[in-house]
Symmetry: C2
Subunit: 244 residues, 2 copies
Amino acid sequence: MSELYIVGIGPGDRDDMTIRADRALGACDVIVGYGVYVDLVRDIYPGKEYLSTPMTREADRCRMAIELAREGKKVALVCSGDSGIYGMAGLVYEIRGEDKTPEVIVIPGLTAACSGAALLGAPLTHDFAVISLSDRLTPWETIEKRLECAAEGGFSIVLYNPASHGRPEHLKKACKILLKHIPGDRPCGVAEKIGREGEKRSFFTLKELSETDSVNMFCTVFIGNGATKMIGGGMVTPRGYRDV
Amino acid sequence: MSELYIVGIGPGDRDDMTIRADRALGACDVIVGYGVYVDLVRDIYPGKEYLSTPMTREADRCRMAIELAREGKKVALVCSGDSGIYGMAGLVYEIRGEDKTPEVIVIPGLTAACSGAALLGAPLTHDFAVISLSDRLTPWETIEKRLECAAEGGFSIVLYNPASHGRPEHLKKACKILLKHIPGDRPCGVAEKIGREGEKRSFFTLKELSETDSVNMFCTVFIGNGATKMIGGGMVTPRGYRDV
C-alpha cells in the first residue's frame, strides 16, 4: 500500500513542528513542496530527494507527489503552517479523486492563527474567523462579504495573505470595510516571520492598521473583538471568566 | 527572571505535540492543569509535581501557576489543543495584569480545527469560522448571532463544545439556525477523541447532523462551505485551483 504524507511544518522553526511531522519527514525518501518551504527543511533532513514547483504550479506539485508515491517512493508533500488550512491536502484529494491509491495521510501543523496568536499574546481566546485576502483564487466580492459578516458577528478576525507584491492595497481595502462596523480604536496585532529570523510583532489600532504600509506578505494580521484589550504587553481577548 | 510556560499539548497523543512543547514539559518542575489534561501527560513526564483544579476553577488554576512561578519554580500550565484558542493564555494575562513577573511564554499547540480537519480530510482549505457552543461564559444570543453571520458569509464552520452533559440540545439548536441559510445536503463531519483511544470520524449531511444524538463532548464538528464535497472518502473544501 503506497502512502503519501501531507505534512504541515508549522511556521518555520523545527521546534514548532510536531513530533509526528518531524518523524514523517525523517522517514521519507522524497520531499516535495514550494521552493521556500523546501528550503526551510532541506538542511534538517539531509540525504533526501528534494523536488519543487513554482508558486502557481500547485496542481503540478500535487500530481508529482501522487505519482512518486504510486511508484513506491515514500513521499512527503510539505506545506507551511498547517497542511489543511489553505494547504495542499485539499488539492491532493481533488487530484487523486476516487482512486484510493496512494493512501493520503494528513499530518497537521501549527497554522499562523495559532503561532501568530501565541507571539502576540492571546487574541483568539474566543470565537474567530479566518479570512485570506488573496484574490488569486477567490473573487474579491466574496472576500468583502466575509469581512462584513465576520465584523457583524463580533468575531476576532485573522487575515492571511494580507499583502503581496502584486496586491499591496488589499489590507487597506479590508480595513475600510471593517471600519464600517468596528470602532477605529479596536486593538489589532501583526505577527511577522513567525518562528523565523526577523520574527517581529507589532500592535496597532484598526485606524492605524488601515494607514500603515508596514504589513507585507510575511505577516498575519489579528483584529480583536469588542472585548479585546492590551494587557501586560500582550493583545488579549478575554473569554469571559467572572472570577478574574 | 521567572518564567511561566502556557503549553498547548494538542489533541492528546505525545506525537501531536510540538518539539518545543515536549521540551518545555520535560524541563519544568511543576505541571498545572485541568485533571483530564494533566492525566494525559502524567505518564510521559514522570518525576514532576502535578497540580490540578476542577473544571470551573480556571482562574484558581492560573493564579496557582503564576504564584508558583513567582516562587522560582519552573512551571508549565497545560491546555488541551492550543494554549491560546479557548485556552488559558488569555486568563493568565488577565490575572497577571500589568505586572511583568513572571514572564509569560505561550507555546502553541494543534487546536481541534487543525487536528480534526486532518482526520476528516481537508474541510478547511478555505476561509472558516470557529464558534464554541458552550454558553457557560457566552450568552446564547451571541452564539446564535455568530452562527447566522458565519452561515451568511459562506464560511466553513468549526463548532467546539458541541454538546456536554448539561447541554445536550445545543448542536440541534445550532443546526436549526444554520439550516435557515444552508441547504440540508451540505457535507458535515465529526471528529471524536482525536489522537486518543477511541478516535473516530463520521460524516453527515447538515440535515442528518441536526437529527443525530451521536455527538458528545469529545467531538468537534465541521460544516462545509458551498463548495465542500466528499472526495475519495474525505470531506474536502476546494480552494479553487483551476488546473485540477
